[in-house]
Assembly symmetry: C2
Homo-oligomer: 450 residues x 2
C-alpha cells in the first residue's frame, strides 16, 4: 500500500486527502498537523469571536467521523520539522511529549498553509496581544474576550482580518481603534473605495489612525497598555496584530525545494514541486496570476481548496490542472461589501501595462425599488481596452458583480465585451443598466477619447 503523507490538515491538505481516497482507495493517507484541529473554516474565526457564529465547533468543515469514514488518518499536535527527501521521510516532533520521529512516505504533500507574521517589535508577546490566523489563536482571543471582558481593542493593520475584527469587536461592544502604517488599506484599494470604507468605519464608531508608525509596545507587567506611534499613543485593553501572513515553509530551509522571496513554494499546474514525489498546495504556495502570467502570493481558502483537489487528483494518477487565479476576494466591513479582482492600477503599471482607470457610482437596484444603495465601481484596463482588474464596494450585490468581473478577466474580455454582457435585470436586483455596464461604458468613452 503506497503511503501519502500530508503535512497540514487544513483546507488544501484535507481536500487532497479526500480526493486521493476517493480516486485511489489503495493509498494509505496520513495527515500531520501541528495544531489541535482538522479542516476548519479559519475565515469564520472573526464571526465566532463576534458572536455571529455561536459556537467555535460550528467552524469544523469535517467531523472526526467523516474523516475516519474517508479512511484518512490524522495525527494532531505533530509538527514536521525537516525533510529527508533522499530517504523519502520527514522528521516530525510530537508536541505533546517533545519526542521526534520519522514518518515515511511514497508521496508527500506540503500543505502547511501560512502563519501570522508579527512585526519586529519587542513586547508583542504580552498576554493581551493577539494575532488571528489559526484556531489556536482564535481560542486564545475568545477566552480573553469571555474571561477578561475587555472594553477596548486596538487593531494594528487594515487588511481583511483587521477590518473584519473591527466589525466583530464592535459587535461585542468594544471601542475600537485601528492603526495603519500607510494611508492605503486592504493592500491598496482605489481611493473612492478606500474612502467609503473609512467613512463606514467612522460611521460605526471605529477610530482610524492612518500613516501611523508604531514605535513601541508599552508594557505594564505581562500586558501591553498602549502602542506608541509617531502620531500619538493608542491605549487599549486588548491588542490585535493583523499585519500579514507568510508561508509556513521554515522547515524546508536547506531542502532541495525551491522557496521564493516571499517564502512560498512554486508548484506547477499539477501541484508538483519538481522534486520527485513531493507536491504542494494551498497557502504555503505562490500561484500564477492569470492576467500577468506572473507568480503571486495570494493566500485564500478558495485557492487552497481548489489546489488541494488538483494535487490529490494528480497524486492519484488522474491528471488535473490548476490554472491560477485572478486574485478575487470579498469582505464585509459592517454594512459595506468590498470586492476586489484582478490588478490594481499600481499592480498593472508594475506588470508593464499602461493602465486606464475609471470610477463610477451607480445604484444597486432600480431607483424606484426600495432598499438599494450606491455601488462604487473602479475598473482598470490596458490602453487597448482589455480589462485588468476591478474593485467594487456597495451595501449589496458586490459578490455577484466582482465574480462577473472575475469571469470577464479570466476570459480576457475588453471593456466593449463587458459593456455588451447580457446581465440579469429586474427592479429588486439591479437597474436596467447594471453598475458594471455603466462602468464599462464610461471606460469605453475614456479609452476612445485618449
Amino acid at each position: 500500500m503506497p503511503r501519502l503523507l500530508i503535512v497540514g490538515a487544513m483546507a488544501a491538505g484535507m481536500s487532497a486527502a479526500s480526493k486521493v481516497r476517493r480516486l485511489s482507495p489503495e493509498w494509505e493517507v496520513t495527515a500531520l498537523d501541528a495544531g489541535e484541529d482538522v479542516s476548519y473554516g479559519a475565515c469564520g474565526l472573526p464571526y465566532w469571536l463576534g458572536g455571529v457564529t455561536p459556537s467555535g465547533s460550528d467552524l469544523y468543515a469535517l467531523t472526526t467521523e467523516q474523516i475516519a469514514e474517508r479512511g484518512v488518518e490524522v495525527l494532531l499536535r505533530t509538527r514536521v520539522t525537516g525533510l529527508l527527501e533522499g530517504r523519502k521521510r520527514v522528521e516530525a516532533e510530537d508536541l505533546r511529549n517533545g519526542r521526534t520521529r520519522e514518518e515515511a512516505y511514497d508521496a508527500l504533500l506540503i500543505a502547511t498553509g501560512a502563519r501570522a507574521v508579527l512585526p519586529d517589535l519587542r513586547g508583542l508577546d504580552a498576554e493581551n496581544c493577539f494575532s488571528l490566523h489559526d484556531f489556536g489563536d482564535g481560542r486564545r482571543l475568545h477566552r480573553f474576550l469571555e474571561e477578561e471582558r475587555p472594553r477596548s481593542a486596538a487593531i494594528w493593520g487594515m487588511g481583511y482580518i483587521g477590518l473584519e475584527m473591527a466589525e466583530n469587536f464592535r459587535a461585542r461592544g468594544l471601542t475600537v481603534t485601528m492603526v495603519n502604517r500607510s494611508s492605503q488599506i486592504l493592500g491598496g484599494v482605489a481611493e473612492p473605495i478606500r474612502d467609503r470604507i473609512l467613512d463606514t468605519l467612522t460611521d460605526h464608531g471605529v477610530a482610524v489612525r492612518l500613516q501611523s508608525e508604531v514605535r513601541e509596545a508599552m508594557r505594564s507587567g505581562d500586558r501591553i497598555t498602549a502602542l506608541d506611534t509617531d502620531r500619538g499613543t493608542v491605549n487599549a485593553d486588548l491588542f490585535l496584530v493583523a499585519t500579514g501572513v507568510r508561508p509556513a515553509t521554515d522547515f524546508l530551509r536547506g531542502s532541495p525545494l525551491r522557496i521564493d522571496g516571499s517564502g512560498a513554494l512554486r508548484p506547477d499546474e499539477t501541484c508538483a514541486t519538481g522534486v520527485h514525489g513531493i507536491w504542494a498546495a494551498g497557502d504555503c504556495c505562490a500561484v500564477r496570476n492569470r492576467i500577468t502570467g506572473q507568480w503571486a502570493y495570494v493566500p485564500l481558502g478558495t485557492t487552497a481548496n481548489k489546489m488541494g483537489r488538483v494535487a490529490g487528483s494528480n497524486i492519484a494518477g488522474v491528471r488535473e490542472r490548476f490554472p491560477g487565479i485572478v486574485a478575487t476576494a470579498i469582505m464585509k466591513a459592517f454594512d459595506l461589501e468590498v470586492g476586489i479582482t484582478g490588478l490594481s492600477a499600481e499592480d498593472a503599471a508594475a506588470a508593464g501595462f499602461d493602465p486606464v482607470t475609471v470610477d463610477v457610482e451607480a445604484s444597486t437596484r432600480a431607483e424606484y425599488y426600495p432598499g438599494g444603495g450606491t455601488a462604487s465601481v473602479h475598473l482598470v484596463a490596458d490602453g487597448r481596452g482589455r480589462l485588468l482588474g476591478g474593485q467594487i464596494c456597495a451595501p449589496e450585490g458586490t459578490k455577484g458583480r466582482i465574480d462577473t468581473l472575475a469571469a470577464a478577466l479570466t476570459a480576457s474580455m475588453t471593456a466593449d465585451e463587458l459593456a455588451s454582457l447580457d446581465l440579469a435585470y429586474a427592479p429588486p436586483f439591479a437597474p436596467v443598466w447594471d453598475p458594471l455596464l455603466v462602468a464599462a461604458n464610461v471606460l469605453r468613452s475614456k479609452l476612445k477619447n485618449r
Copy 2:
C-alpha cells in the same frame, strides 16, 4: 438639419434619441408614441401595483425637462399607422382627435416594443379583466385596485408578469389563484427549479392550477365572474391575463421590412433593417442568441436599452455593434430569486446539441454564518463540456451567480473552466465552494463518466 423620427418613446427609442443628440447635435430628433408616457420603467409596474414603489411617477426614467434638455421632441398619443418608405414618411394618427398626418424623416428608428397578446377567447374585454404591459394597463389596474378594493385575483399565465403579480397582489392582501395551460412555468424551467417556485407560491398562499385549459370567461354584465377550465372553475373579483407578448409591428404589414414568424424585425448588428435609412431596436426585434447563433425573440429591457444605444450611435455615424444575447433573466417570487441564462436542455436539444444536465443544491453562505439558504443550480452543457445554460433559484445571491454564468457562456467556457474560476469567498457571501463551483464539479464528473 437631418431629421430622425423614432416610433416608440420607450427604452430603445429614448436611448437612441439621447445617443444621437449627444454624438450629432445637428440631428433633429422626434419621437412619436401612441401612449401617454415617455421612457418609464415598465418592469416596475408590478411593484407600483403592489405598493412597494409608492408612486407611479417614480417609474419615469427621464423627466420632461431632461428630455427637453436633450433636445428631443416627443409627440404622445400619436400612433404611427403606416410606412411610406418611398417618400421617407410615416403616416400617423393623432389619437386625441383622430386626424391623420404624415411625418417626414431622413432616418427612421422603429422602436415600438411589444404588446400583450390576449388569448383568442370571447369576453376578455370585461372591465375587471386586465393585461399588464404598458403604463396605460398599469393605471387601469391600479385604479381598479384602489377604487373597487377587490378581494381576489385570478392570474392566467405563469411567466414573469404572472409570478410578479402574484406576489404583488398578495402584498395587497388579495387571495390569488394562478391558472396555467401546461405544467411548465417561466417558459420551461428545470423541474427542481419549477418545484421550488411552486412550493414558494403555496407557502405564500397562492393557489396554483397547472395543466388547466381555460374554456370560457363567464360573464355577468360587464364583468367576468369566473374562468371555466377543464379542471374546474376559478372565481375572482379581478382577472389578469399574462399569457405573453408579441412585437408591435402590425403597422408594417405590407411594407418592405421583413417580419419573422413571431412578428419580429431582424435588424443586423448595427440595428439597420436593410431598408435604406430605417433602423430597429428593442422589443419589436428578434436578436441573435450568442450560443446558438440563431434568432430568438426575447423581449427584455436591458436588451432594448443596449440596442437603442447601438442604433443611435450608428445613426449618428459612429459604428457600434450589438452582438446579441445569451437570454439572461431574473425574477423575484416572494422570498425566492429565480435566474435563468442560456439554453434549457430542451432548447439545447432543439438547437442540435446533445445536452448533459446536472442539478445540485448548495448553501448560499458558509454553513456557520447565519441567514443563508439553499441554492438550486441547474447546468446544461454539450457532451464535450461546453456550457450551454443554467438556472438558479435561491433566497439570495442569484443575480450574481446567474450573471457570472452569463459571462462564462459569453466566453464559451467549459465546465472545467467554470470549475476553476476564481470566485470571491467570505463567510457572509458564499461557502468556500461556491454553488456554481459545486455544480461545475458535479457536471465534470458526469461528463467524465458518460
